[in-house]
């Protein structure tokens, strides 16, 4: 199919006698199997049989070891003296059914907070990262601030940030009454933007300078270069790390319960407070896990795809 190209590409008189081009190789040369596959040799058949046996062996081994481990855990739990008590307070069917709708309703608030927090973090984190990599002398004070911000925010425990924002801002008495969920969202945004900004900064700096040179030499401005060439490539490089932070954020939105917002964790807590049974917490955990599973699968799939593309077929 490639042989047709040359007639199009050859132009002018000099081309006819020029060195052979990669495109010109006839499709039939050197590639067995394009028509009429030669029979597979005995050696290859033996190899295949051996590999099949090996892979069967490893499947059996993994199934057996999983079952042994599960059995050990079960036996260990059953044998421990307090097991019936623990089973009753954490895995009670009655309280599971009772708390499930309330916790699920609370989870809806978590999802909403997550939604706005993701948007906020995307904007604020990107802005912060761009300030960090900027070189303009004007932005020097901002650069200093951004650096201070990422350093401090990554050092403070998330729960302290929540207290500072959740009780500090209303304490100022400027804005009137703000719902706890909004304050919680702001705290999550402030905390996570610092991490995301650093991930993005690493991505920006990872794009090879020759890409910038190439874009600028086309006449693109530095803003256009950033937007069309640097950011898209950087995002691709750091996508797995970003998705990891997203998954971590998904569970951390449960912390807004400390401010009194009735989210999944808080809803569970309310049931626990009246029943002295901890099953609602397990319900909340299961729901949080279920929401994160699709994104974990997506992240694994995307990372695997990137790896495959970069190794282009290598197996080690």
């Amino acid at each position: 199919m490639r042989t047709g190209d040359s007639s199009v590409s050859v132009e002018g008189s000099s081309s006819q006698t020029s060195a052979p081009r990669a495109d010109d190789w006839p499709a039939s040369s050197g590639h067995p199997g394009s028509s009429g596959q030669p029979p597979v040799s005995q050696i290859e058949l033996d190899r295949e049989r051996y590999r099949e046996r090996q892979s069967l062996k490893s499947v059996v081994t993994s199934i057996v070891s999983t079952m042994v481990l599960a059995a050990l855990i079960m036996v260990g739990l059953k044998l421990s003296p307090g097991w019936p008590r623990v089973q009753e307070s954490f895995f009670s069917g009655k309280y599971f059914v009772e708390s499930f709708p309330k916790v699920l309703q609370g989870l809806w608030l978590n999802v909403q907070v997550l939604f706005f927090a993701v948007i906020g973090v995307a904007i604020f984190g990107t802005l912060m990262a761009m300030i960090r990599v900027s070189k303009s002398p004007f932005l020097f004070p901002l650069r200093l601030l951004a650096r201070l911000y990422t350093t401090i925010m990554r050092g403070i425990p998330m729960i302290v940030v929540l207290y500072l924002i959740g009780f500090g801002i209303p304490g100022l008495g400027i804005f009137g009454r703000i719902p706890a969920a909004v304050l919680g969202t702001i705290a999550v945004i402030l905390s996570y933007s610092a991490y995301i900004a650093e991930v993005l900064r690493a991505g920006f700096e990872d794009v090879h300078p020759s890409q910038r040179a190439s874009a600028r030499s086309l006449g693109l401005t530095s803003g256009q270069t950033m937007r069309m060439v640097v950011i898209p490539q950087a995002l691709r490089k750091v996508a797995p790390a970003l998705m990891n932070d997203f998954i971590s954020m998904q569970k951390d939105v449960g912390l807004i319960s400390v401010l009194g917002a009735v989210d999944a964790v808080r809803a569970a807590q309310i049931v626990v407070a009246t029943s002295y049974n901890f099953t609602p917490y397990v319900v909340a955990s299961i729901l949080f896990i279920l929401t994160s599973v699709p994104f974990i699968i997506l992240n694994d799939w995307y990372s695997a795809r990137l790896r495959k593309r970069e190794q282009s077929g290598g197996t080690v």
Partner: protein, 299 residues
């Protein structure tokens, strides 16, 4: 197909451009620049026309100096490139070829001296460097295509975003140019699906999309194996035949000898030779020049 007709069209365009160029500097800007960038801010004011000593030269370098710290890479480089001339820039590694290319394209700032592009002093800080860069086409040793864009988007990006060309028009032109190098069916492929030679030819097409007044080729065959070098050099020959003004840094001595109109030999950051291939490569009596070319004898 209608290959011949396409050729005729090219020749027609070429002679149009020629006529435009012959109208002298200042008006030598080709149609595309006229359409896309009629912004008066770029129009050089007092600094260019009256004092311009460039005559008809597309590029004039006047005592260009560049240092990195105490490392003096360019120690006063001066030469001209005339319209439709192919100038080969030769010299050993470290002689300053790449630095000179970067200075001309304003990717590096010169420390002294002036660079004129068709009557505009582009080293003047009051001249918008983005605009000057958009008038020059550059092809790099490592191709530097954008890996996240397909071939068509790579080729049309500059024309659309910088020169304000309409998207359909840009795509038509890109496909025509790609067709000419036999890569039209690769228009939707991504750079990592192409061979080095194919990538480099796409990079050349990308630099040609906006009809640059000057084409800089920075060791464009150095990253290719000998078989692919042929297909890229063939394309350069074709450009020369169409009248493109080219400055090429290269180590392909045979090609420089046969295809270049002029050779500039850079030794230790200074122009050691500036003349026809015959004068420089065969007849020069300068011992340093002879020493340099002796490494290539028999190749």
């Amino acid at each position: 197909m209608s290959q011949q007709r396409a050729d005729k069209n090219m020749n027609q365009q070429h002679s149009d451009q020629l006529m435009q160029l012959q109208q002298g500097p200042g008006q030598g800007q080709r149609e595309i620049q006229g359409q896309g960038l009629q912004t008066s801010q770029h129009n050089p004011t007092g600094r260019t026309s009256p004092t311009s000593p460039t005559g008809k030269a597309v590029l004039r370098l006047d005592s260009v100096r560049k240092s990195y710290g105490s490392n003096h890479v360019l120690k006063g480089v001066s030469f001209d490139i005339n319209p439709h001339e192919v100038v080969a820039l030769l010299g050993p590694s470290g002689s300053g070829k790449s630095t000179l290319m970067k200075c001309i394209n304003l990717l590096e700032q010169v420390n002294d001296g002036q660079i004129w592009l068709a009557g505009t002093e582009i080293t003047d800080p009051r001249i918008n460097p983005d605009h000057s860069r958009s008038r020059i086409g550059v092809v790099f040793q490592q191709f530097n295509l954008f890996p996240h864009m397909n071939v068509l988007r790579n080729v049309t990006l500059g024309a659309i975003k910088v020169h304000g060309m309409n998207k359909d028009q840009a795509q038509d032109k890109a496909l025509e140019l790609l067709d000419r190098i036999g890569m039209k069916q690769k228009a939707s492929a991504y750079p990592d699906q192409l061979s080095g030679g194919q990538q480099q030819r796409v990079a050349i097409v990308r630099s040609l999309m906006t009809d640059p007044e000057l084409l800089l080729l920075d060791e464009i065959t150095s990253a290719l194996d000998p078989m692919l070098v042929g297909e890229v050099l063939e394309m350069v020959t074709e450009l020369k035949d169409r009248g493109t003004t080219i400055l090429m840094a290269t180590h392909e001595m045979g090609f420089a000898h046969d295809a270049a109109d002029r050779i500039v030999l850079l030794l230790n950051g200074q122009v050691a030779e500036n003349g026809s291939p015959q004068q420089v490569m065969d007849e020069s009596q300068n011992p340093q020049t002879k020493e340099f070319f002796s490494h290539f004898r028999g190749l």
